[in-house]
Symmetry: C2
Subunit: 113 residues, 2 copies
DNA sequence: CTGCCATGTAAGCAACTCCTTATGTAATGA
DNA sequence: TCATTACATAAGGAGTTGCTTACATGGCAG
């Protein structure tokens, strides 16, 4: 199925490709045209265009027309959301604590049985 | 192609699915058997097994045999790596600064022409 | 041993991904 | 006007994903 309509899924999916992550890294150096962006990759231009479409769908870039060039700009808000999700699940303290809790309940279950 | 051998891609790809993110959220409450894990989802057990395989491949869970149950435990190291990548690209300062720089170069270009 | 329980694996299918080449489309410049 | 530049879109194909049902495995209780 993978209908994946929700924002977070789109962002993580966009980040799951090394080429797209490289594009994002590149865009940290400032807005860049598609041609410049495509140059370092051993890949056809349409392929890059399609990657950019994925990034745009995830809200990670904006494309603005500038004469015959399309200027791509990084948008970091979706990265904030992704970061927030990961951070919420990253800290081990709660997990450790709950694991201990679970262990205690387990032991109790064993003595009951 | 999507041969995606690298760690980060596997992690982001694992996080790109809502079911798998829900599983991770659930595992924050401590180690859980596959059955318990599958219970809240409107999905067959094999489907969950396959999601767990993806999570395991990404290093996000460990499965240890415990009699006829498999106990799934969250591992947060891959989340650390993912978080580090996102954090590295999230801060807007550099981006803003370079964007300004670019803008100045643009203006210079216009006055030159 | 036998049948149940929890789980994994296999096979099949529709949908999606990621690339390709070929073909638009819009702005520039001679 | 006509070619060129910069890019997008279309069509197609190999491989992957995410589900399904059916079957295999391995521990356990009788």
């Amino acid at each position: 199925m993978a209908a994946v309509g929700d924002e977070l899924s789109l962002v993580f999916q966009a980040l799951a490709d090394p080429t797209r992550r490289a594009i994002i890294s590149r865009l940290r150096g400032g807005p860049t045209t598609v041609g410049e962006l495509a140059e370092p990759f051993a890949m056809s231009r349409p392929a890059i265009s399609q990657h950019l479409k994925v990034l745009e769908r995830a809200g990670l870039i904006e494309r603005t027309a500038d004469a015959q060039w399309r200027r791509c700009t990084l948008r970091t808000e979706p990265l904030d959301e992704a970061s927030a999700w990961v951070e919420r699940h990253r800290d081990e303290w709660n997990e450790r604590f709950d694991a201990l809790d679970e262990r205690l309940r387990e032991l109790k279950g064993q003595t009951d049985a």
